[in-house]
């Protein structure tokens, strides 16, 4: 088919093709943003600031206050992040510092990779049948209403899911920490703990922070596992054992069944918010990592 075309034209076509492929990605992202904005516009007009401050999400009354969802999202992802930190740091030190090579380390590395690869719906399914009954037992022991599902279940699943992301970034930057300052610290008689605590971790801090930011982005937008265990009630959870909802999870739950245009628009408005926040988190994380690797 291309035989009739002259070499110069083939060259031009190829250049155009790769050029347009890159351009199309930029256009795609712009279109994403415009689509979300355009579809959310009726809701933005109708809801105004009540979208961010209203505590009632009631489609029948045409009240769309996303505060409980915002709160639920921030609560679950921040708590999960807090829980993730010690485990991710430990894994990163184990893989990046104590055992960078060897059988044990490759086994653990494979396990972390597999943990990152398990689909979120499988996490959710497992949590419903294995984790929720445990939490229910705990709640009975503590004397609170034994729902099982709720914020605590969501936080635990999220923690398990984001550990691999934070750990793999942190392990990489710990390995990148300069060798000479380590050796200098050892030469001064520091123990390994002291070297890690006072030299390596401070040197790797910004990289670890970036990994945490990326993991936070994951937790923030995670949908399926959360929606299966959080109980999906659109109110501000009163305690860890109460049910709640998150922004990603309400979209997954209600968009396919949303009937009125305003209802759909309000859900899209939540999507727009998710899009903007995740974009900001990602760009910030990647920026810090790039600056970090340039410093090293």
């Amino acid at each position: 088919m291309l035989h009739g075309i002259s070499l110069r034209n083939k060259e031009k076509i190829f250049q155009q093709l790769i050029n347009k492929a890159a351009l199309l990605i930029v256009i795609l992202l712009v279109l994403f943003f415009l689509t979300l904005l355009w579809q959310a516009l009726p809701a933005v007009w109708h809801n105004g600031w009540r979208f961010l401050t209203g505590a009632v999400w009631d489609a029948a009354a045409e009240q769309y206050g996303a505060l409980p969802l915002l709160y639920g999202t921030l609560l679950t992802s921040l708590l999960a992040l807090l829980l993730t930190l010690p485990f991710a740091l430990a894994l990163a030190l184990f893989l990046g510092e104590f055992f960078p090579y060897g059988l044990l380390s490759s086994a653990l590395r494979a396990a972390v990779e597999l943990l990152a690869g398990i689909p979120s719906v499988v996490y959710g399914f497992w949590a419903v049948f294995a984790l929720v009954p445990l939490i229910r037992r705990l709640e009975i022991a503590l004397g609170v209403v034994p729902l099982g599902v709720g914020v605590l279940a969501a936080v635990l699943v999220l923690t398990i899911m984001i550990i691999p992301y934070a750990a793999s970034v942190a392990a990489e930057v710990i390995q990148l920490a300069p060798q000479d300052i380590r050796e200098a610290a050892y030469a001064l008689g520091a123990t390994r703990y002291e070297v890690l605590r006072r030299v390596v971790l401070p040197a790797a801090f910004s990289g670890i922070f970036a990994g945490v930011l990326l993991a936070f982005g994951r937790a923030f937008g995670e949908t399926m596992a959360v929606t299966m265990v959080i109980g999906n009630s659109n109110k501000i959870p009163a305690s860890l054992f109460d049910t709640g909802n998150t922004m990603a999870s309400i979209i997954a739950n209600e968009l396919a069944e949303a009937t009125s245009p305003l209802y759909v628009a309000s859900l899209v408005e939540i999507g727009l918010l998710l899009f903007l926040v995740s974009a900001a988190l990602n760009l910030a994380g990647k920026y810090i990592i790039r600056r970090f690797s340039r410093e090293i």
């Binding site: 795609l28 894994l91 390994r192 937008g221 974009a279």
Partner: protein
């Protein structure tokens, strides 16, 4: 001195303990999946359609074929596009467009999958007033795209410039240099990226909820709703029937094994086909 050494030891063992605690859920999840799923795993599971409630047996053939259809659409969309864009980024490192495109790829990579679903819902579902395999496949394709672009770019950057210069010095046209010299040299890296991107999207459920939707029938029609393995797990897990839970456990096991196989083959292929420079 003793105190400092004790602290050192204590720190080491704490790190070990927390590391193993962190991967303990993997053992628990895999064990649970095997325990619950393996008993229903038989030939019928792969070849039959889901039976009406109360009838024994049945399988998830519709979901397996549906996932195949969705992945094919995603592959057809993402691989050519991602390759070309990746080549552009590797060949034009410092242009304004390249910088913009890199930003966009990063945003796309971190975007919550449910948001992709919302956009594709607005683009392909609402205008046609029907859930469709096409919209689901497109959503998965857009999730694959950033992975393929990134790995293509990284692979091309690793190829020594001497290879390209030698080809150009021999008078090989630019496009042939790229397609016949650089592309084969970087093939293992690119295949690696494609397999990893497939592993990333094969278990995605959130964007399919309001695009491909799901269907109890065997269908390969691109303009009709289609079932997929992750959606079937979600749907059956939420049902109150033990028989459906059983199928969902089995499907989960198959899905996790599928992801594992994709990851492993990516590793093996890239090791075997690696061109060393």
């Amino acid at each position: 001195m003793l105190y400092r050494q004790f602290k050192n030891k204590l720190f080491f063992w704490t790190v070990c303990l927390f590391s193993f605690l962190a991967v303990l859920p993997l053992v628990l999840i895999l064990g649970y999946l095997l325990w619950q799923g393996v008993s229903a795993l038989n030939w019928q599971f792969f070849t039959r359609l889901p039976q009406p409630l109360g009838e024994a047996g049945g399988g998830i053939a519709n979901a397996i074929i549906g996932t195949g259809v969705l992945l094919s659409i995603a592959f057809a969309l993402a691989v050519p596009w991602g390759l070309l864009a990746g080549i552009y980024l590797a060949e034009n490192r410092r242009t304004g467009l390249a910088d913009f495109a890199r930003w966009c790829v990063e945003i796309l990579q971190g975007m919550p999958s449910v948001v992709l679903g919302v956009v594709l819902y607005a683009w392909l579902v609402r205008p046609f007033r029907s859930f469709s395999a096409l919209s689901g496949g497109a959503a998965l394709g857009l999730m694959m795209l950033p992975v393929i672009v990134r790995t293509t770019e990284e692979t091309f950057k690793m190829i020594p410039p001497a290879l390209k210069e030698a080809a150009l010095a021999l008078g090989v046209p630019y496009y042939r240099t790229i397609l016949r010299v650089l592309l084969p040299a970087g093939l293992s890296g690119i295949i690696n990226g494609v397999l990893l991107s497939l592993a990333r999207v094969v278990g995605e459920t959130a964007p399919l909820l309001f695009t491909a939707f799901g269907s109890p029938f065997l269908s390969v029609n691109l303009f009709q709703p289609i079932e997929s393995i992750p959606h079937l797990i979600f749907y059956y897990a939420a049902s109150p029937y033990a028989q459906w839970h059983q199928l969902a456990w089995c499907a989960s096991l198959v899905l996790v094994l599928g992801v594992l196989v994709l990851n492993l083959s990516a590793k093996l292929l890239s090791r075997r086909w690696r061109v060393r420079f």
